[in-house]
Symmetry: C2
Subunit: 202 residues, 2 copies
DNA sequence: TATGTTATTGACCGATCGGTAATAAAGTCA
DNA sequence: TGACTTTATTACCGATCGGTCAATAACATA
């Protein structure tokens, strides 16, 4: 056993609660008071655990991107075909972005990109890494869809991936106020179709 | 002539300077001090002119959406064909979103949507109105592209417009850190192509 | 029980936040 | 010139911001 006074609460559940606040309100409009209220911890404990507000946000964002990517990857592996895996991957992303009790919270990565891209290279790099991982996943699934499912892509692989990423990022935004999850899923499916994936067969 | 002490500066140029600050930093992380520094006005004058910070932002956002829509509409009318008009409309949007001395500022409407959608019905409604106007413009151009340019859309008109809007919103985000203006324009053009517009003929 | 170690707590900090009000300055009009 | 009207400017407000620190509490170990 480690020495010293034991923790009352699991840092992971604290991080999870802070994460939800940041997803809801973004970084700037979230105050330490908000985080204290949401986590139940006292301010000093939060600072001891995560350094400062920026550190807490960064940790929460990493948690979000890691877990979201893992969910997407896992979802892609559940499918019988690469094409279906691709569709499930996109739907997984949309489902996460649509979370929220009233109105969708959107994708925290997209939200953070909008808020931080111009002023925080650290966050920007972190988001670029995740972006590249997802692009790689999409390209791998697309390649397999060509080889295994007879997909006849009308655009090069790289362009196909860029177009899918653009659509997904856009849906993450419009999900916040313009469209429903069902509409977003329909858009994603149609996008796969127009790109040449054999999505009708599913 | 109107009575009273005359204004030193034109409120429109003040609004323009405030607009740029809001585009750069968003709402929350922009302080009144920032606005004072950027406009050259003193704090009291800003409050007299625009009420409060939120009012100033709302006015700036309306200015942005109005002007951007007018630019897009004007651009669409410059073209010889509806298809070319559509492409010019999209490129106009991307060009505006890519403005900024170092890195692109993105689309202020998209940025505001991310920051305000969950907490400010007034801003949300304002953005939804603009969204609908742009959707209407896109649908009108698409319809004309079918009738006049022989476009063979592979998706219904409404879905075509939704897909275009999603791509554009996504590009406005990714433009901030992930891609260049040239890449974004290429994505938009490819998107038009896969949707069935006769864009290769241009 | 005494000691070392870590976690929790509440009081406190200077800085900055958005916003206000009183006053000074610069014009028009009689 | 002097009254009137509007803008510009300064000083100031309470509240909240993110962050710190010393004191205390709760454990393991000796």
């Amino acid at each position: 056993m480690v020495m010293g006074r034991p923790r009352k609460v699991d840092p992971d559940v604290v991080l999870e609660k802070a994460l939800m606040v940041f997803r809801e309100k973004g970084y700037d409009s979230t105050s330490m008071s908000d985080l204290v209220a949401a986590t139940g911890l006292h301010k000093g404990s939060l600072y001891q655990l995560f350094g400062d507000k920026h550190g807490l946000f960064k940790t929460a964002l990493q948690q979000y991107t890691r877990r979201t990517y893992e969910s997407m990857f896992a979802e892609s592996r559940k499918a019988a075909t690469a094409t279906e895996g691709l569709q499930r991957t996109l739907n997984c992303m949309l489902t996460i972005a649509s979370e929220g009790s009233s109105g969708s919270l959107g994708c925290m990565a997209v939200n953070a990109m909008v808020e931080f891209a111009e002023r925080d290279p650290e966050i920007r790099d972190l988001l670029q890494e995740t972006d590249q991982k997802i692009v790689a996943l999409i390209m791998e699934l697309s390649q397999r869809a060509i080889e295994e499912d007879g997909a006849e892509l009308v655009q090069p692989l790289e362009m196909t991936a860029m177009m899918l990423m653009s659509v997904m990022a856009g849906l993450a935004v419009t999900l916040k106020a313009m469209i429903t999850l069902e509409q977003a899923q329909q858009v994603a499916k149609s996008q796969l179709a127009v790109l040449g994936f054999k999505v009708d067969a599913l």
